[in-house]
Amino acid sequence: MTGEIFVYQSQHWHLLPERAIYWQEEQALIISDLHLGKATHFRKAGIAVPTGIVEEDLLRLQRLITRLQPTQIIIVGDMFHSRENSEVQYFKIWRQQFPHIIFHLVVGNHDIMPAEIYGNLQITTSPHLTIRDIHFIHEPCEDANGYTYTFSGHLHPGYVMAGPAKQRLRLPCFYFGRHCGILPAFGDFTGMASVDASPGEAVFVIAGQSVVRAQ
């Protein structure tokens, strides 16, 4: 397996260049901010972004699933971008390949579809989720919240690396704050926001096909 195994809070977190975390102890794949349906949402409004993004995103997820064989997938919010559209149908068909895998969606601010649609897609939803005292909630928390650790999304974090000769590079990253870790956005049609990491916090950047600890 490529990527980086980060042992933290007595758990093994496989940080993957596909912009996902594999949680070894739970055999769970953790992703965030897929924004499925975003391209079609734009296209319905007459903004001609290309099609094919959802296919690529789901193919990447599919490859991860077949390679890692997780029993469950935890999505830390913003799985879908907006209202229901044809990409949701595409996902439904795609979903049928993995009927045995549980999809937990921790609802994000973009997840505005009616509850029954998630039911039809065999996705369980909840505002947050806690496993082994690891807490999952969409929007990052700044302070300690009583759990061992928290994972969030929402931010689409990117990390700016500066070097000699005024070099500068911004890459998607996994950010491990004191209380809260933030996952990179899984979807390809998403932007990035720079995070400032304090000393002592871990940051892993995704550099092409590998994951590198930057701090």
Binding site: K38, A39, T40, H41, F42, R43, K44, A45, G46, I47, A48, V49, P50, T51, G52, I53, E56, H81, S82, R83, N85, S86, E87, Q89, Y90, H110, I112, M161, A162, G163, P164, A165, K166, Q167, R168, L169, L171, D188, F189, T190, G191, V205, A207, G208, S210, V212, R213, A214, Q215
Partner: protein, 817 residues
């Protein structure tokens, strides 16, 4: 004929005689010709064509020309600036009144009230002054052809300002439709005239306006010259004057006496942020100016700008700090002095600004040049020489701007719909789209109807519907959004700035606001404001008492040195060290040049200087072609790319108008032996593609393109969450086009624009040809030289690498550890 007699008598009654060029223009106009009038401002260029149309009207209705009302739109007068329209309308109305002709003169721009618009819809005035954007808004209305049934003449005023811009393309497209309507309705061909200040390519400017298939155009030149007196203000402490900088505040004490001794002064700065800073500083130094000083730039509230313009007219103001926003030809009679802070970077722009003072035909235009850093004084000397030799820049017309064409097709689709074959014929006869292929055209139509994809069961793309050859947009929401969107040919996503208590301050770049934290203060329109929050694409602010404020730097404020001025500049360096020079600027700079010569070398115009300097930042290579920032950016990328093929290496690149810098963490292997080869023309095309691909130029160009083509949803207040879900940055859309739709024409346009406009490819070629026959002088100065200093401390930066991403990261990590 009667008309000519009426006008001559009317002028004689005012003891005026028409200029020769005016008479020539009337004659050509009466013969039914189209063409271009070339005259400096302040010499009655408006009357050359306006009176022509009046004469023709009197000739056609010799008995009842003073009675006929409601004649429909006869003459459309395009102005690039709303402020100009009012001025011209006033002048025209006065003339019509005196002649007893009951024509209406109307204005149509973004500021025109809804009531006026509605009245115009019912009955068009005989003369309509209009901006390019508003022409398209008219074309976006149902039954638009009805407005133009009587239209026989279109005049594009200040055409030199529009040609070379996408707003100029808007004019070309609107004219193509108006010509097409005349043909469809069997009317005589439309007469089209331009009015232009002197530019290097007047013939081409006319071709663009009349179209490449028109061969009967005439250029009428006014053989009048504006007298200009340029004075450089030499810093009193020349020895201590900074080597770098772009604000010029050190010169403020020397500017104040000039302002005080003049009636009214326009103080031009090159960027909006600079104007904000100068305004504040002038007020601090001269509190007595309060009430008599104003600020004018493109990000300020329209009303405030209009007030400033009126106040200038009425002579209330002593000084106005402004940017290019006051470049254009409004006649501010009280202005007798112009101060230019920093180099204007081009001869044409300098002449234009100088012409803002002494607007009367015989008056001398007084302009003072204030350098912002020492070397800039050479630019003043170069400007003077270029003015004497009338080396005025050309404005290159825009070609194949797909974004504008898509916007135009959507405009037609939301009004009456369009027949693709008719519009194809019209569009391909414009200058801009003369090389469009049928394949391009099909792609554009597909982009509007299917979103660029073959129809698939899943796709829900919706914009324009097609039935046979007829294209129309039936969605009211989309139509409304498009109408709001026309005219947003602005370079950036701008955000409104409003007070919490209501009250509009101006606009500001979204990127600036997004970097502000609530509670931080910034300066806009001369006010100190505290940022509170953003809401619905509006930044809410309150008045700030903070002494420390951030002045936003607006993108794109810096204009590169023109090639004419660059050439002059190199010649001035020749003179610099000779003891023969008479230019006061060069004499003042002698010590600086001597230091440059002692540390390194002052290049002659057949030499290219390269400096290798090592500092704690790394290994620097400075190169001085004096060709302007844009050419330097590309040359730097090209050189960096070529070096990086010798060995894996990463550069940080910086440039200004004089030269560029490559900075690396390893020594840069450029030597006397390989320099010529590294700067050769060989494989230029392919290597440029490769080096440019690795920079962000195309992505930057795509920002405008995405906005104009309607890919950026700009939102409107108070709408639902689903609308917010339509927001994406142009950079993100650029990424998905690149990854999922690389043949997209808009993406290609971004690369082409980068190539032709951003990189100034033609100019780069000339530069490399020049370097090929030049002597390359390589020096290794012990410390930073006067030439390289401004590049190092005050310039824009970019990166170029041939190292693998993973390797770069490892190095960055190692460096940080």
């Amino acid at each position: 004929m009667k008309g000519h007699q009426v006008i001559t008598e009317w002028l004689a009654g005012k003891e005026l005689q028409p200029f020769q060029f005016q008479q020539e223009a009337w004659e050509a106009y009466l013969q039914g010709k189209s063409g271009l009038v070339n005259a400096p401002t302040g010499f009655g260029k408006t009357f050359s064509l306006f009176l022509g149309a009046v004469i023709a009207w009197i000739d056609a209705h010799p008995k009842d020309y003073q009675k006929k009302k409601k004649n429909g739109l006869q003459l459309m007068w395009i102005t690039p600036l709303r402020a100009l329209a009012k001025d011209i309308a006033r002048a025209m109305s006065e003339v019509l009144d005196e002649l007893g002709i009951p024509w209406q003169v109307g204005i149509r721009s973004g500021d025109t009230s809804t009531a006026t618009r509605a009245a115009q819809k019912k009955q068009m005035p005989e003369i309509l002054l209009i901006t390019p954007e508003s022409m398209h808004i008219l074309l976006a209305q149902r039954d638009y052809p009805a407005h133009f049934q009587h239209l026989h003449t279109v005049v594009a005023d200040e055409w030199h300002e529009l040609i070379g811009t996408k707003r100029g393309v808007l004019v070309e497209l609107a004219l193509s439709r108006l010509r097409g309507l005349a043909i469809q309705e069997n009317r005589p061909p439309l007469k089209v005239w331009g009015i232009s200040a002197t530019i290097g390519n007047l013939d081409e400017a006319m071709q663009v306006l009349l179209g490449p298939y028109h061969n009967d155009g005439i250029i009428i030149k006014a053989l009048l010259r504006k007298k200009i007196a340029l004075t450089s203000v030499i810093p009193t402490e020349m020895e201590n004057y900074p080597w770098a900088g772009h604000l010029g505040l050190k010169m403020l004490p020397q500017a104040i006496p000039i302002i005080k001794e003049s009636q009214t002064t326009l103080l031009f700065t090159n960027t909006r942020s600079q104007s904000e800073i100068w305004y504040q500083s002038l007020l601090t130094h001269c509190p007595e100016l309060a009430g008599a000083i104003a600020l004018h730039h493109g990000s300020m509230d329209m009303e405030l700008r209009v007030w400033v313009e009126e106040a200038l007219h009425n002579g209330i103001l002593k000084v106005v700090v402004c940017t290019a926003s006051l470049d254009l030809g409004v006649d501010f009679r009280p202005v007798d002095t112009v101060i230019q802070v920093g180099s204007p970077k081009g001869v044409a722009r300098f002449l234009q600004r100088a012409g803002r003072s002494g607007h009367q035909p015989d008056a001398v235009s007084k302009i003072y040049f204030l350098p912002t850093h020492a070397l800039e004084l050479v630019e003043a000397a170069a400007l003077k020489a270029a003015m004497e030799q009338e080396l005025i820049e050309s404005r290159m017309p825009v070609l194949l701007a797909w974004d504008v064409l898509l916007q135009y097709l959507m405009t037609l689709a939301v009004s009456d719909g369009f027949h693709a074959t008719d519009i194809w014929e019209e569009v391909r006869k414009t200058y801009c789209y003369q090389h469009i292929t049928p394949e391009d055209w099909q792609w554009l139509l597909a982009f509007l109807t299917t979103g660029g994809e073959a129809l698939s069961g899943y796709d829900e793309f919706k914009k324009v519907e097609r039935s046979g050859n007829y294209y129309r947009c039936t969605s009211r929401v989309l139509a409304m959004r498009h109408r709001l969107h026309i005219g947003t040919i602005v370079s950036d996503v701008m955000m409104k700035v409003k007070f919490l208590s209501g009250g509009y301050v101006g606009v500001i770049e979204e990127g600036f606001i997004s970097r502000l934290q609530p509670g931080e203060s910034f300066t806009l329109a001369g006010r100190n404001l505290e940022f509170v929050m953003t809401k619905d694409m509006t930044a809410l602010v309150r008045k700030s008492t903070s002494k420390k404020t951030i002045v936003p730097s607006w993108q794109g404020g810096r204009i590169p040195l023109s090639s004419n001025l660059g050439k002059m500049l190199r010649q001035k360096f020749n003179e610099a060290l000779s003891r023969r020079t008479k230019d006061p600027e060069l004499i003042a700079l002698q010590p600086l040049f001597q230091l440059q010569e002692d540390l390194s070398h002052v290049p002659k115009d057949d030499e290219l200087l390269i400096e290798h300097i090592d500092t704690k930042d790394g290994y620097h290579l400075f190169c001085f072609p004096f060709e302007g920032r844009l050419v330097h950016e590309v040359m730097a990328a090209l050189l960096a790319y070529r070096i990086s093929r010798i060995q894996p290496i990463t550069f940080s690149i910086a440039m200004n108008d004089y030269g560029f810098e490559l900075l690396s963490d390893q020594p840069i292997p450029v030597t006397a032996e390989n320099a010529k080869a590294l700067l050769s023309l060989e494989n230029l095309n392919t290597e440029l593609q490769a080096s440019v691909n690795s920079t962000e130029m195309a992505r930057r160009k795509f920002r405008d393109i995405a906005v104009i083509a309607g890919l950026i949803f700009q939102g409107y207040p108070g709408k639902s969450k689903a609308n917010r879900h339509l927001q994406a940055s142009s950079s993100l859309i650029f990424n998905v086009f690149r990854d999922y739709d690389p043949h997209n024409l808009l993406l290609q346009q971004a690369f082409n624009e980068a190539f032709f406009y951003q990189m100034e490819e033609a100019r780069l070629r000339e530069t490399l040809e020049r370097i090929a026959i030049s002597k390359i002088v390589i020096t290794r100065p012990e410390r930073l030289t006067p030439f390289c200093f401004p590049i190092k401390v005050d310039s824009l930066r970019d990166t170029m690498t041939s190292e693998k991403l993973e390797d770069r990261i490892k190095k960055l990590i190692a460096a940080n550890a």
